[in-house]
């Protein structure tokens, strides 16, 4: 088809049988594989991690604490030596550690005073196995934000461009939630929401009475509550309320690549999946100005090989994709493929989080709930929606929920003996907690680059991540804490305590923005179809494409952007433009 650039040194034979290569099998890669194969393309899906077979490899699924080697705890020395970063994630435990990377084997660097927690899952399905499943649309407000206040560059798309693709993503993935008619959080295609418990209903009523501009709603989560025929045909069934999602779900009740997109792609007969294939770089052909394939290092024996295709979709996660692009150098692109703008690796964002509040609800002592609901509540953004806040730009939302504590409150309760034991046999008081998720401004100074000194064991220069919360984020943290306290007071809670512990950047696991979309090839990497301005057959559809972060959990947006980009790419391919 086409030759390889002068810097091609790969020894092994190159297969050119594929129409498209998709790098990464997480939420974005799974969607790319599905959308491209369903449009008739022969797709090679490359995953750097091991194979995980849906159901069969969910090795801790259904296990109770007493069926685990240390009742669910990981040996302390192992946590310290191998999982010092991953252990910061709420979902990390002995039940789930096989779906997280080993930090010792996957190094990266940060300045001493600027920690960044990079939470990763290298396996087929990637972090789609581990995500928290909250699924929200960005709104018109979000797509206009950069243009209005001048931070970052303008999104090259608006809400109306993505709305039909949100429909498409929600239809297939299965999102449960309620219709609320909020401009800042558009409604979508929803399955029935999970129910609120009595305390949550009261708190909702109290908050909405005190603040007409605020709503407390059931979280919109990618759990099937009323599966469609298509979802059932893919082997998925409704949520069983175990709340053990990150161990894997044999019911296929939550959306993951393994439960949903990869089965859909496989049934087309057009998908080839290769695991344990670490993509080192994209091969650039200067004669045609196209990406002609990718170079791969075998994860196990470290042998090099290459694959060729007419289209390349990078979906290797924000920082994974950026690392590959920065490492894809050529005469034309000495600083990374499709990086003539110099913006590749810059404008790194996460959400800000960790700060929130909790309190005790005095009523409903005679009521309890049953089952472990996998999703909590959401309080959509209310700052800088109708009025302008003088303290900070953009906004934040909260996630939260009410529950009765169980035995572990004994850790914080004085007492021993018969009465203590009898008290812990009963549920504790109703507790409500909420934690903020805030927008982070795109800032050129927050960036990643390749190390000039250190490589990982696959020969990739490791990433140096330099990212910190700045003035706007710090002001927003204060507002998140103050508003949470005010909201919980209005909700009628007692014993309110405010948590001021700010999560380090990265720990919200919404890192994004390092290969941003934009109108102008001089100031952005990707155009309005997630297509590299510089290299027409190279598409990037994971979080790295994000021009701003909004404050909503972003995965649904990655799904919609990926599906939209895949449709556009196939159309261009058919029109001979690629």
């Amino acid at each position: 088809m086409r030759g390889f650039g002068a810097n091609t040194t790969m020894p092994s034979e190159i297969s050119n049988d594929f129409d498209a290569i998709v790098v990464g099998s997480g939420i974005s890669g799974g969607w790319a594989a599905k959308e491209l194969t369903e449009r008739g393309l022969k797709v090679l899906l490359l995953e750097r991690g091991r194979n995980v077979t849906h159901r069969q490899d969910y090795v801790t699924e259904g296990k109770a604490a007493w069926e685990m080697p240390y009742a669910g705890q990981i040996p302390e020395s192992l946590t310290e030596s191998d999982y010092a970063v991953q252990n910061q994630c709420y979902a990390f435990s002995d039940y789930t550690k096989h779906f997280f990377v080993n930090d010792r084997e996957n190094p990266y660097a940060t300045p001493d005073n600027k920690p960044f927690s990079w939470i990763r899952g290298h396996q087929l399905g990637g972090r789609s196995l581990l995500w928290h499943r909250h699924s929200y649309r960005l709104s018109a407000l979000d797509f206009e934000a950069n243009k209005l206040d001048g931070h970052g560059t303008d999104w090259p798309i608006r809400y109306k461009d993505l709305a039909p693709w949100y429909d498409h993503a929600e239809n297939f993935a299965g999102i449960s939630g309620s219709h609320e008619g909020l401009s800042q959080l558009p409604d979508g295609v929803f399955q029935p929401p999970f129910p609120m418990n009595c305390v949550e209903k009261d708190i909702k009523k109290n908050i909405e009475a005190a603040f007409p501009d605020r709503k407390l709603i059931m979280g919109r989560v990618a759990h099937l509550t009323e599966p469609t025929k298509e979802q059932i045909a893919l082997g998925r069934s409704r949520c069983m309320n175990r709340d053990e999602c990150q161990r894997g779900c044999s019911f296929g009740a939550y959306f993951s690549s393994l439960s949903a997109t990869l089965p859909a792609a496989n049934r087309t007969g057009n998908l080839t999946t290769v695991t344990d294939a670490v993509v080192d770089s994209v091969i650039y052909d200067s004669d045609s100005n196209r990406a002609s394939g990718v170079r791969v290092v075998d994860a196990n024996n470290h042998e090099h090989r290459s694959y060729g295709a007419r289209l390349v979709f990078l979906c290797a996660s924000t920082l994974g994709t950026t690392q590959i692009m920065l490492n894809s150098t050529s005469e034309r692109f000495p600083n990374g493929i499709a990086n003539s703008s110099g913006t590749l690796g810059r404008y790194l964002m996460d959400h800000i989080g960790g700060v929130g509040a909790s309190g005790v609800f005095p009523g409903h002592q005679d009521m309890y709930d049953a089952g472990r609901r996998g999703g909590g509540l959401y309080l959509p953004r209310f700052r800088n929606v109708m009025d302008k806040d003088e303290r900070f730009l953009r906004g934040f939302g909260y996630q939260g929920g009410a529950y009765r504590s169980s035995w572990s409150r004994g850790n914080n309760t004085p007492g021993i003996g018969i009465d203590f034991k009898a008290a812990l046999q009963r549920p504790g008081p109703w507790t409500f907690d909420m934690v903020g998720f805030g927008e982070m401004l795109p800032d050129e100074r927050n960036h990643v680059r390749l190390s000039k000194k250190n490589k990982d064991s696959w020969g990739m220069p490791i990433l140096e991540i330099d990212c910190e919360h700045r003035e706007n984020e710090l002001a927003m943290f204060d507002a998140i804490a103050a508003d949470a306290e005010e909201l919980l007071n209005a909700a009628g809670l007692t014993d309110i305590s405010v948590n001021q512990d700010k999560a380090a950047p990265g720990l919200m696991i919404h890192e994004m923005g390092t290969a941003r979309m934009g109108h102008d090839p001089k100031t952005s990497v990707l155009n309005k179809f997630n297509q590299a301005h510089d290299v027409p057959n190279l598409f990037v559809t994971d979080g790295s494409a994000m021009t701003s972060s909004a404050c909503q959990n972003p995965s649904l947006t990655y799904m919609a952007l990926t599906a939209r980009a895949a449709a556009a790419a196939v159309e261009m391919l058919q029109e001979g433009k690629l």
Partner: protein, 199 residues
Amino acid sequence: MADNRTHLTRRTAIKGAVALLGGTLTTAQLGLLGNSFAAIAEDASPRFLCPKQFTMLSRIADLIIPETDTAGALGVGAPHFIDMMLADWASPQRQAEYVAGLDSIDVRARDAGASSFLASTTEQQMVLLRALDNEFFAEHSTDPFFGVLKKMVLFAYYSSEIGATVELRFQRIPGDYLPCVPMADDSHAWFWSQYNYAL
């Protein structure tokens, strides 16, 4: 309801779980074969603690969670579980903390006039443990060990099969989320597996 829970055996729990799944999962897939608690024989020698410290640990665990109409810490094998955790799970610092901590409790018993903690009467032992517990929760607490130990005893007890399914209630596969269920006077709290739980 409490009676039903008492009679819930391992076998019926497995049968129920597999039936609920409509046979789509095997018992092995659900991981019902191992049992970290049952694997330790009740009369086994301690592997980490010396016999005297193991006896102290057993006595303290028994006083924190005694046998009542339900099993206590001893009845679920908590001391052997904790000894196993100290041998195989704990870091060297954690191991040292337990050795020194148990010794310090013995010193406190001698300071109170007994020849050792184990030689004290039950009443004296309770007085001492309550004092340590109060000190842990005091504003300017300097010695966290009793809090660490109590947390471990609670974890061992409620993470055991009896603790989770008889003392508390456990649903392997709840099916539905029922948001508002009236409580009976004897409604037990639910057990669920804690993620990223710092001992």
